[in-house]
Symmetry: C2
Subunit: 171 residues, 2 copies
């Protein structure tokens, strides 16, 4: 592995190899991701993903939970932050930008009326706000170009900012 | 606590108390949720939510990661499953339906071309499919009514199936 490949500890050869494989065989780009959630009493549940340890979920006491883990709407914005971090790491490495530190703050507003059945309408986030704090010696123009690229290609960002067809069936 | 309140281990009094508080003071329904993500080298990051232990994120080797944790797009569908589990637990308890077991299988298709910069366009999920497996002695009509209520009031479900205003700023 050359120094360039190790920039930000990102395996650019793996990413480049995948891109090349997709160019040669576009169907390779078609991926399917899965999770299984099991209810654990009250508002507690665990999510199982591949062979990883189950990830717990709960609600705060004010919402009737036992507060043993982050709740689902917090998990969604955490996933967005993690996705942007991957995008930053990949894009910075490809552009030769060293990341000294990267922190992403996320927040969203959500009105509980619909969730609680007090009125019909939108039960989800009303908006999401993200602030990216990047510590780097790269010049501002390069960082702004990186930011635009990351925002424009974020799988979770696009999933949240666009309407995704969602079918929920009772087995 | 009465037997009814303990059905499915759900604290209906807390949920009912919150709903009543919101009816009396609608501003109470306005909630804001936060997370902070810190990059940890390569495609690894951790999400910090309130005082809970940091939740790790990574990518599989095929995507250039070190495969130490679920990736962000898996985390998103896990959050959806957890949200539906809360909805089911709350709704079932309110309707007097005992949940003997509840499992939710989720999957989604995602084309990697846009994420990898191989073409412009949608980088997120193309669609999401959820199958709810509920073990209960309640009759089918009651379960179908519960299902419709849960799907119609899911905060994460609505966040994914609708376009949410998303601002991502470089600090």
């Amino acid at each position: 592995m050359t120094t360039t490949n190790a920039l930000n500890e990102v395996d650019l050869e793996a990413v480049g190899g995948l891109a090349q494989a997709i160019v040669e065989s576009p169907i390779t780009a078609a991926t399917t991701w899965k999770a299984t959630v099991e209810w654990d009493g009250g508002f507690r549940s665990v999510a199982r993903i591949r062979d990883f340890a189950p990830i717990p979920s709960d609600e705060p006491p004010a919402l009737g939970g036992t507060d043993t883990a982050p709740n689902p709407v917090e998990q969604v914005i955490a996933a967005l932050g993690n996705c942007l971090a991957v995008g930053y790491a990949a894009g910075a490495s490809a552009a030769g930008i060293e990341i000294k530190d990267l922190r992403i703050d996320l927040e969203g507003d959500l009105d509980l009326h619909a969730f609680l059945g007090l009125r019909d309408g939108h039960a989800g986030y009303d908006d999401l706000r993200v602030s990216v704090h990047l510590d780097t010696d790269a010049d501002r123009a390069a960082v702004e170009a990186l930011h635009a690229k990351v925002v424009g290609t974020s799988p979770v960002g696009h999933t949240l900012s666009r309407a995704i067809p969602l079918s929920i069936d009772l087995a």
